[in-house]
Amino acid sequence: MSNAIETRGLEYRIGRSFEIRDLALNVPEGSIYGFLGPNGAGKTTTIQLLLAMRRARAGSITVLGKRVPQEITAVLSRTGYVPERPHVDPSLKIDEALRFHAAFYRSWDDKEGERLLAQFDLDRSRRIKRLSKGETGKFLMVLALAQRPDLLLLDEPTDGLDPVVRREVMTAVVDYVSQRGATVFISSHLVHEVERMCNWIGVMDKGRLVSEMTTDSFKSGIKRLRVTGAPQSMADPPFVLLSRQPSEGVIEGELWVVRGWQAPMRDYFESAGARLTEVTDLDLEDGFVELLRTSRSRQPLEGR
């Protein structure tokens, strides 16, 4: 399977406070890739690097098989981009903005644009600055989808939108993907949203890619274990230990957060003289939080 987006050893720095180091993204073609991370993790910066809006200090970027920034024009002609903040001239009317945008894309589909406008219930004669936040979000999606891209780069497209609008927008994206087989790269800090529609997840924190795997792998393998009598160090666990800390409250023992857990692994504790008393499933959000906590405390991690 080839990658729609691939970066190797990507490095970028702004001043002294923030840097992206050794970023290795692998976004499979046709996937819906959720790019998770807290605020300030570098998600928007990464997207801007992919679009050559910023220049990396080192490393390579390949998007849709083209090198960035050398072949950026070819990349952009096949990429639909929805930024975090509206980027279109707000003084334009919707109609004018559509015509402006269409002039740059050979693949622009007028009918699809009309259909989406109707679907989102947007009036062509209205000025963009007069649109509500939700309407603006929908309009930006119209611009991106009507140009029939092979890759959609969505930077927190539903941020600040009400649930209804959010559902509308993401439904349109999913419909488009199902029709075209396009790749979607969506950055968000809304874990549940990503969980619902993405089949790949990358987690970024403080300029580094903490984890990158399928959503199923991410969700299914993370458990919270309650363990008593475990020695301080336990050799060669069959799972990935994400965190280990004393249990709070009256119940004795330790709370372990692990990934890659399977039921037969109970034997591991017994062989070490410990006792496993409880196994709890963690949802994606909890797993995400644990993953971040682990990476910040510099616990060993692994990728896919």
Binding site: A52, P69, Q70, I72
Partner: protein, 391 residues
């Protein structure tokens, strides 16, 4: 041996320095050497005869020494020297001696080629040049002028520019006072082998603008090609009535308005009558009163000088000599004598030169246009190379 040679050289150099500082020492020494030449013949004479001989030589030496000292005193400060070239005699400060020695023959050749007149050549008088440059007469000859003089050194070296490059000749003022003023305080005196100093085209451009925007009716008619009007504007003959010959009613009124309220040259009522009511008679009265104080000439002395230069060029060989020597009752006659052609012919040529010298429009020159175009291209290219827009 080497020490002896060094000491000898040291003594010689100290001696040379002493001699240089006190030339009279050298002069005395030379004189003495000359006077004492026959001394070798003393060997064959008796002591008494030797004594007489020595006394005689001593007296002779003292007499010549005194004469030399008197001569040096007469010459003034030791730093003044004399240069002679042909009949030219020039007193020059020491710093300029060498330069002037080389320049004088060249300057003289240039003047002689220009003047072609023995009487002019014979009129040359010595001139004293102070070390600060410029020139002035010596204290003893107040009337060195009129006569040609070297105003500056000639060009000595075509390869190395030594500056100061013209040979000048002061005009002999054969004309009366008004005629001198006609030519202005700047004498038309720069006679250079190539007439290098004559402004030429620049002056004619200036005259063109002057006539095109003339504030006098006669000037405007001259610009339109009426040559008798040019003759009148150039004042080749004295105007019988400048107020009406040169100016019309509108001109007079303009000049009165421009001159402001008169001081002692008319009444306020007359002035108001002229400027506000447009009364021609009042304007003319005021104008005539003004003319008595100072004449507003139709054209400037630049135009006059240009006319003289035209006459010189038309006159060919010896024209400058005629310029300097001719005594003529009117300026028109003088011009005609210089040019060896009627004054009207000179005016015709002068007018043609003026019209041909119409200045190029300043609204848009080629340099400005192309310069702006190039900057537009360069700056537009810079914009595309901005870091934001560079891939």
């Amino acid at each position: 041996m080497s020490e002896f040679a060094a000491r000898t050289a040291g003594c010689l150099s100290r001696g040379a320095a002493a001699v240089k500082a006190q030339p009279i020492i050298l002069m005395t020494g030379l004189v003495m050497a000359l006077l004492l030449q026959p001394a070798h013949r003393l060997e064959s004479q008796s002591t008494a005869e030797y004594q007489v001989r020595v006394d005689s030589l001593r007296v002779e030496w003292e007499r010549k020494r005194d004469a030399f000292i008197e001569l040096a005193r007469e010459l003034g400060p030791a730093r003044i020297d004399t240069i002679r070239t042909g009949p030219f005699t020039v007193l020059v400060d020491e710093p300029l001696v060498e330069l002037m020695s080389q320049a004088a023959p060249i300057a003289w050749d240039a003047l002689r080629a220009e003047l072609h007149s023995d009487s002019m050549l014979a009129a040359i008088k010595p001139v004293y040049f102070p070390s600060g440059g410029g020139s002035r007469t010596t204290e003893r000859s107040e009337d060195v002028f009129p006569g040609p003089w070297i105003s500056e050194t000639a060009n000595l070296d075509e390869v190395v520019d030594r500056v100061i490059l013209t040979v000048g000749a002061e005009l002999r003022l054969m004309l009366d006072e008004p005629s001198r003023l006609w030519l202005s305080a700047n004498p038309l005196a720069r006679v250079v082998a190539e007439r290098r100093d004559w402004p030429g085209a620049a002056s004619f451009r200036w005259i063109y603008v002057e006539l095109a925007t003339s504030g006098s009716a006669v000037g405007r008619r001259c610009f339109d090609g009426h040559l008798p009007a040019c003759r009148s504007a150039l004042e080749l003959e004295p105007a019988s009535d400048p107020a009406t010959e040169w100016y019309d009613a509108l001109d007079r009124r303009r000049l009165i308005v421009r001159g402001g309220v008169p001081r002692g040259l008319g009444t306020i009522e007359e002035w108001r009558s002229c400027t506000e009511a447009g009364d021609d008679i009042a304007c003319e009265t005021l104008f005539r009163a003004r003319l008595e104080g100072s004449v507003t000439h139709p054209v400037s002395t630049v135009a006059h000088q240009a006319l003289v230069e035209t006459a010189l060029q038309m006159g060919g060989v010896g024209a400058y000599g005629r310029l300097v020597l001719t005594e003529a009752p009117t300026i028109a006659d003088w011009i005609a004598a210089v040019a060896r052609a009627p004054a009207d012919s000179v005016i015709e040529v002068w007018y043609s030169d003026v019209i041909a010298a119409r200045p190029d429009p300043t609204t848009l020159t080629a340099a400005t246009g192309w310069g702006a175009f190039v900057w537009i291209i360069v700056l537009a290219a810079v914009a595309t190379r901005s870091t934001r827009w560079r891939s």
